[in-house]
């Protein structure tokens, strides 16, 4: 009989800043998670309601735009999906730190790289974008 593969562990990274969202999601993929990237709270709701994959946790920016603000979203998730851990982060440094903690609990035994380097990478990208626009 074929061995059943374990269900993938899934997260949602929700941030309106695409450079932050991409970097956090990529880091968490390296930690072994399947990651939905959501730009708004509406997309978080879609990911949860779609239901094909069980979501373990949501890492969201505290200033996430959309139908619900981040704090309303946390309440909505707690009411509808109580098994989903919600972590709100106020800036890239706290988001990277939270991603590091999620990585410690993740499917892989080791961190792929230091979460502080994620924050540093995002800051470099943001600076490069600003320079291009000057």
């Amino acid at each position: 009989m074929a061995e059943e593969l374990p269900e993938p562990r899934c997260l949602i990274v929700a941030d309106a800043d695409v450079l932050i969202r991409n970097a956090l999601a990529e880091y968490l993929r390296h930690c072994g998670y399947k990651v939905f990237e959501a730009a708004t709270s509406d997309e978080v709701v879609i990911a949860l309601e779609e239901g094909a994959l069980r979501i373990d946790a949501l890492l969201a920016d505290a200033e996430l735009p959309g139908r619900y603000n981040a704090f309303e979203l946390r309440i909505w998730v707690r009411d509808h999906y109580p098994d989903v851990d919600v972590v709100l982060a106020g800036n890239i440094d706290s988001a990277a730190k939270a991603a590091g903690h999620l990585c410690d609990e993740g499917p892989h035994l080791q961190r792929p790289y230091d979460p502080e380097s994620v924050a540093a990478h995002v800051k470099r990208l943001l600076a490069a974008t600003r320079r291009q626009r000057l």
Partner: protein, 129 residues
């Protein structure tokens, strides 16, 4: 040297997730953008992008056609695949390839492989970035 990086620009959340996830399964690196404005921000960040797949109609100031024009201005040789349900191939557009929705991931993967090669088989083409 890593796998080729593809930028997926699509405002429909589940389509974007499924497309990006499928391309990652194939072995490509994928960056996701929820609209043309985000796609352009990624291009301006200086990250190496080997190919762009974009929807046409999206919210924001930059639609898929404008994003294609801006990408061509930044890196003329970088391929762009435009996907749409209502764009006719005969219509003038700056993209390298047009894919009518709905499409299969196999059809898209074949198109990508033709433009930039299979994952890990880096194209020798200089995208002019």
């Amino acid at each position: 040297m890593g796998a080729q990086t593809i930028l997926v620009v699509e405002d429909e959340f589940l389509i974007r997730f499924m497309l990006a996830d499928s391309l990652r399964e194939i072995g490509y690196q994928v960056l996701e953008a929820a609209d043309g404005d985000e796609g352009f921000e990624i291009l301006m960040s200086g990250q190496v992008i080997d190919l762009i797949i974009t929807d046409v109609r999206m919210p924001g100031a930059i639609d898929g056609m404008e994003l294609t024009r801006r990408s061509k201005s930044l890196a003329p040789a970088r391929p762009v695949i435009v996907c749409s349900a209502d764009l006719f191939k005969s219509q003038s557009h700056p993209a390298d390839e047009f894919l009518a929705k709905p499409y299969t991931i196999e059809a898209l993967a074949g198109l990508i492989a033709r433009l930039i090669g299979d994952p890990w088989q880096k194209s020798s083409q200089n995208h002019g970035a």
